[in-house]
Symmetry: C2
Subunit: 763 residues, 2 copies
């Protein structure tokens, strides 16, 4: 602990694979989760949900539930509105009611809530509730939603937080929750001049985050504050949004978040919090709601999307122009869908240097469960489309996929579709390192007989969300140990460890001396949210600035008491000042990266604080008789700048890759008239240990993000980008079957094989 502020210590904390700071608490089963929390007098809530996709509510019969012994209360929207006259929430639109009002818009929508001290009583009572519905025409498909007479929301109510949604305010008879358009150059002219024009349409399915810790929230109405304990990725947002709903000042709402058992974008914005908070206030007692795994299927999903890409290409493979049309199936409530639409929209042409670009991206309301952000914020859907498209063009022109990419790759300093010049974006480095690790230019064994082998590569990129801000406090104790107050949520990604390493590096103290305070809006300052791989960069800067502020103050204090900070230990500075072990030095850091909003054409010279790059190479083995295939090798390359903790970076790459592998091969929400027909982990298959490819290699290329904290940037999503198209291209490479719809199933390959052979399917 007896370290000085001298430079000799720096470099010791950052970039080392130290064990995660929470490892011990987790492996001993002592880590805090909201699920473990029980408060005196606490009631359990159970939700009664809609069984129809779109309907007017004629009536709700809660009499039997209310009469059940042990039931404390049954609430419907009418009760909610006694406390909150307009109980609609949402980050982009105030479209989501706390409990359904007049209408239900998707199967599984919360219609009523039962509270009881015994959760089994609450569940039994919820099953006694019935609702009388007048069913309305429903729309489920994102393309149909563009023109359907079935309108999900009568009037659009933008939240007022995003300027690009303002023009939608009060709009009627539309399901379009955002239309994003970007124009650069003149695609029509370029298509006319091109040697070839290719157009393909792709689809991705609706899937689920499925954190192993389902949604859970406890609200405790204390006399001075409403305290909300919640498994949330966005404590600051929850505080502000609940305060807005209640008409209270922010500081009367306290949001506390312990560890999360995964989030992946599911636990953002308001999920259970509004319902639990209002129920607790109505009941005057603490209330807890924990969803079952099945209920998770109705809470938030990942957008299904249809993606049409059209490219004008020269005969030697140079992409001259590209048009992208993307339709995002947002489900019944917008959640952050419009942001997904816009933020992913502007990278829809892919990491390629194309002079003429036109993008149209639409967020659509449908009568499915709401869709939001899921590890990649729309990018894996886009990369799936544009990298499949790239390989289809290469194949048509008989150009090697690597050569095709090398020819068109977006190089450092060149303008991206928004006009922003690429900086610290290791697209070329990642591509070349992937080629090297795949030994792309060496002979590849394609197999023989019924087993054929193929390989594919794919690369994607992503902008970071902007503008956002992070604030942090670093408190140095008199013995040199350090507390860091920050609202970044450690949901398994290792942020506590990363922040400790950054603070240790900035202060020049051992990383073991740094402890994190978990999010608690009373004491950890504002952070936009833990999402979009932004924390290492944004909160990393905030804690660095706070540590540097503390360091400056310590230097000043040393000077004041006549000591050299370079050679004196921190405890000695305090001791000299206070005559004993006493005092604290508190530093504050506030970070907001520079950003320029796009103009009407979608053009800006500053679209993102940093770029994330991810690429995957896949080798597959396909059974030509059955269509069954296995992924034999998966090579995942990313640019994360300087890795804060290489071991954690590696697990982030592999975790992201395997998650996307599930979305590529097995996961799909099946619907029947809006009802999920496979809403259980028995029927909905996420990857297990036996699904891990025999060979999996994960690597961060040697890069530095010049604008990042000590050269670092985010890593949580980059591993997802290339997985789906790399595998699809490998299948095509092996057996000549090009699949354009996810998931990639043996059945689809089999159908393709039969079609190629001119043989009809034998069903």
């Amino acid at each position: 602990m007896a370290t000085t502020l001298g430079k000799s210590n720096s470099g010791s904390a950052f970039g080392r694979s130290i064990p995660r700071v929470e490892a011990r608490a987790k492996v001993t089963g002592k880590a805090e989760y909201v699920h473990n929390l029980r408060l005196p007098g606490m009631l359990y809530g159970k939700v009664f949900r809609s069984t129809v996709a779109h309907a007017r509510i004629r009536g709700i019969d809660v009499s039997a539930a209310r009469a059940l012994p042990g039931v404390h209360a049954v609430y419907t929207a009418a009760d909610i509105m006694r406390l909150v006259p307009d109980p609609h929430y949402g980050p982009a639109f105030h479209d989501q009611p706390v409990l359904a009002i007049d209408k239900v818009r998707h199967v599984g929508e919360p219609v009523a809530l039962v509270l009881a001290a015994d959760p089994h009583v609450a569940e039994a009572a919820a099953q006694m509730i019935s609702a009388d519905y007048e069913e309305l025409p429903a729309v489920f498909d994102e393309i149909e939603a563009m023109t359907s007479k079935a309108v999900v929301h009568e009037v659009l109510k933008p939240a007022g937080t995003f300027p690009d949604l303002k023009h939608l305010k009060g709009k009627r008879d539309t399901n379009i929750a955002l239309d994003f358009h970007l124009r650069r150059g003149d695609t029509q002219k370029a298509f006319a001049a091109a040697d070839h024009v290719f157009e393909h349409t792709f689809r991705t399915q609706q899937v689920l985050h499925l954190p192993l810790e389902p949604f859970v929230t406890v609200a405790d109405p204390t006399p001075n504050q409403l305290v909300i304990h919640t498994a949330s990725q966005s404590p600051s947002f929850v505080r502000i949004e609940i305060a807005r709903l209640l008409g209270w000042p922010e500081n009367k709402v306290r949001v506390k978040v312990p560890y999360l058992g995964g989030g992946f974008g599911a636990k953002l914005y308001i999920k259970l919090e509004a319902l639990v908070a209002i129920a607790a206030l109505l009941a005057g007692r603490p209330v807890k709601i924990s969803l079952t795994m099945e209920e998770q299927f109705y809470q938030i999903t990942k957008h299904a999307a249809t993606l049409r890409i059209k490219s004008g290409v020269s005969k030697d493979g140079k992409i001259l122009a590209r048009e992208c049309e993307v339709w995002w199936n947002g489900g019944a409530y917008a959640d952050i869908g419009p942001r997904v639409t816009q933020k992913s929209g502007f990278t829809a042409p892919g990491p390629y240097d194309i002079d003429h670009v036109a993008i149209d991206s639409y967020a659509l309301y449908t009568n499915l469960p709401a869709a939001g952000a899921l590890r990649g914020f729309g990018i894996p859907q886009l990369v799936w489309a544009y990298e499949s498209h790239t390989d289809m063009i290469a194949k048509a022109l008989n150009i090697d996929p690597l050569a095709m990419r090398r020819k068109n790759i977006l190089k450092e300093g060149r303008p991206q579709a928004t006009g922003t010049l690429m900086r610290d974006a290791g697209i070329e480095q990642v591509l070349e390192r992937l080629a090297q690790r795949m030994q792309w230019e060496k002979t590849f064994d394609r197999g023989s007989g019924k087993l054929r082998r193929g390989r594919g590569i794919a690369i994607g990129f992503k902008a970071s969300i902007s503008p956002t801000t992070s604030v942090a406090i670093v408190n140095v104790s008199a013995d040199g140990s350090v507390m860091v107050n920050c609202s970044t949520v450690d949901m398994g990604q290792g942020s506590d460890t990363a922040m400790a390493q950054i603070v240790a590096e900035a202060l020049g103290v051992p990383v073991e001396s740094v402890t994190l305070v978990h999010p608690d809006t009373d004491v950890t300052p504002y952070d936009m949210a833990t999402l979009g791989s932004r924390s290492t960069f944004h909160m990393g800067h905030a804690v660095r600035l706070a540590a540097e502020d503390a360091r400056d103050k310590l230097m000043k204090l040393a000077q004041e008491v006549g000591l050299s900070a370079e050679t004196t230990s921190i405890p000695d500075i305090f001791r000299k000042k206070y005559g004993m072990q006493a005092g604290n030095i508190v530093g504050v850091g506030s970070f907001i990266p520079s950003y320029a909003p796009p103009d009407a054409q979608g053009q800006t010279d500053n679209a993102t604080p940093f770029w994330m790059i991810g690429a995957t190479g896949a080798e597959v083995e396909v059974d030509t008789e059955t269509g069954e295939f296995k992924v034999a090798r998966l090579v995942n390359l990313v640019d994360v700048g300087r890795p804060v903790n290489p071991a954690i970076v590696e697990t982030q790459i592999s975790g992201a890759t395997l998650m996307q592998l599930g979305f590529t091969l097995t996961e799909r929400m099946d619907f029947d008239a809006g009802q999920v027909t496979n809403a259980s982990l028995a029927d909905y298959k996420i990857p297990g240990i036996r699904d891990v490819p025999a060979v999996m290699e994960n690597e961060a290329v040697d890069m530095v993000q010049q604008t990042g904290p000590f050269g670092a940037k985010g890593v949580g999503e980059s591993g997802t980008f290339g997985v789906s198209p790399a595998i699809a291209s490998a299948i095509d490479d092996a057996v000549g079957v090009r699949l354009t719809s996810l998931p990639l199933t043996a059945e689809a390959v089999y159908r393709g094989l039969r079609a190629n052979a001119g043989k009809p399917l034998q069903d």
Copy 2:
């Protein structure tokens, strides 16, 4: 909430009698106290205590206790030392063992600890423990302790925190834990030249804090930290001292303090925390110890003291020289006694302008329960002596008590005994206002027949503890609501409200928009402790500085986004910056007043950051047949600078006065060979509602502490100063009986009446 940073708002928060911020939580029974805390797996601890005052421990038999079903563990010092080889703690000396080692030094000393899930089992088991003692000669009287062969501690071990204790390190065969000496001028020469020399000796008894919430601590050994929930006035000290004992860094110990049900100096430094913390670590489970009311009698007490004062006076009543000798009965462990000795020592001559002063003040170990700070830090004992002495001189010289004081009072700008020039000390103002309210110069009805009436006045002053430091964080939310992180403990004195008012004043926001975060060493920065009426001044400055830092940052932010902070609301500044309700502005304040330590003669020009002044006027009615008397009127005047909240100031004055009234009239710990014989609220009489004088008037004079936050300074103790001598002098004034020992009882008056009449007592 929509206020600006413009000057127009300031002045609205400070000085108003707004309701206490915690009032609602308290009256609805929902305020958090440690007593309410139950943790999963928590064990209850029950202490086995010494029954002898001074002895070697030959053996402790815990076998029966260990064998009792339901007992989790029984610990003695040997167990403690497995974890902490040298388990001694204390703020001034490391003299107090967590459990008795080899020796016991007072009746009630903790010897062993039983842990059980059921507190009744723990209690039953504790009663099965026995110890075999070899009794040693004991010393109970502070004068005898000066020379006694009975030595409480073999070797003195100063904690190293106070430089003036260093010379005692390693000293043997002494009970003197501090000898404080101050010399100014030449008293011997002055006595020789004086017309009269008066010498009187006074005594005060040992009494108790008796907060209605007894001591309680819970320690929770979580994987990453030891979390201590404790009813403590000094969370920062507890953290540092427990970390020191365990050899851990500070940030591995987390100390949380909710509301306190009173403290009065009892809950300072380490009380139960070390025992509970170590027991929890040994058991690997949360442990709670709550003392009974009876056990409080052995935990910490107020110093009994013997005070000798000798004054040389001119025939017209001018005090020329004064010698004070004070012996403080510190009990078996020093606690903060040496600080009481030193800090009160230097004001022992009283608020009088005396050229020649000699002070000798001794902290003494005895075999009684330890004594510490109690509302006044030794000052009420001193004022009792010097104001009784003043009136005895006045009476002897036939000078009116008010005139005697007017002649000698220490005026603004004149040097106090340390040499420090008096600044912002309203001694004269308080005295004159008291005279006015008492209508001192008008005729006073002295009664007739067996009921005689008398009146008395007394005035005292006190320095604040120095040097100490306070650090605070002020966090402004995007809607203009504010969180304040500070480690000041609200134990009923209203500090939460005062801090909210000061922050609101500094920021120019409504006081309702400010919320306090309760002490939690993870997130509320260092504060020396909540003691000695220092919080309003020290923490008041820290929160003011933090608020001003936040205000400056808001001003800068407003400027940055092109707004005028003077006319724009805080929410608008955030909204302009972030495009929505987002972000925080965090300000930090750190305060340490200037201070110059005294030289070898006790001389300094900067002894205290501020002075507290308190005076009381009493009118009594005495039954000349029985000696029974009642206090008919009590007028209490204080200088608190500008009152932050006049209503709370009033309750602080009345609370302090009534507490001192108990110490004056009824409270006294009775001992038999070191055993307290009245250790219950049935036998030890604290004031009840019927003991409140029929007329009680409390007033803060119109003063401004120029160096205080917005002119304020502390108030918690000033009401105690003058109560005892004013009542004693009133009795003397009524019936000519001068009592020199507290408490003042009817029996003592009766004995005095009989003695005056030359009649022997009829027992």
